[in-house]
Amino acid sequence: MDSEKIKSALADITAEKDPTLKSAKLASLVSALWAEQGVELVVVGGSAIEILTEGEYVSGDLDMCHLSVSTLPVRQRQEIMGLLGAKGGPRNWQVAGTYFDLLGPVESFSRTPYRRVQGPYGEFLVLQPEDLLVERVLVSYYPEPHPPALKCARELAIVMLDGVVKTDWSEVLRIANRPEYRNVEQCKALVREVANELKIKSPLDSD
């Protein structure tokens, strides 16, 4: 990406006042720049949930992980982020009026692909909703009940049940059954509850 394009993108993102758009545009720009160096990034956590649900959840920071086990050397990271006038580093930066956090290698169990959004500065990846839902349900109950995580899980469940975020429900079950989660019954209960509100049958219930 040439310096004029970067400058124009940066001006757009800096001026953006909508927190979800700001995150998505920054994810698009940062993904493009890192991809030029051979590293694919994926949006995770609250930023990913916001992109999928518009649930008024995201804070003023964008969380991303890299798909490869290793990241770029610190000097190269600082040089890439320097192209954006970023401050700080080497794992979190203040950039374009927000924060960008690079959390390390991605933790994903889903066999479905990362979701892809063709952002204004290039395509960016979003963590699979199947993973996000099971994780949010877990955090809703462990280590103790956590109502904000439960609301988040409900938001994810409704967009997935509606079909506006396409979902492989067999993957949700498989992930929830994994030793890392073991929360199938809680996932089933939450999805059933939201499905009841939509007056539809839960895809996680067999009969």
Binding site: I51, I158, K166
Partner: protein, 69 residues
């Protein structure tokens, strides 16, 4: 598209265009509000100090109202 409306879906395979993702924002917000009304942003986190410094005492920019999406 999802089964009940003309709102573009975020697919499993392939990608969603920026325009389609934007088009779906209001519908996704309305759905989310059905089961989790109000602002759901966490009240606190380990990033509070830096966030509140950058966002005038808040943890992020204000959300765009649903009717303006």
């Amino acid at each position: 598209m999802n089964s009940k409306s003309k709102v573009p879906s975020i697919p499993i395979e392939g990608s969603i265009s920026w325009e389609d993702w934007l088009k779906g924002r209001r519908y996704r917000r309305e759905l989310s509000q059905l089961v989790a009304p109000g602002i759901n942003r966490r009240k606190t986190s380990s990033s509070d100090r830096r966030l509140k410094k950058l966002f005038n005492g808040e943890r992020g920019l204000p959300f765009t109202p649903t009717e303006k999406l």
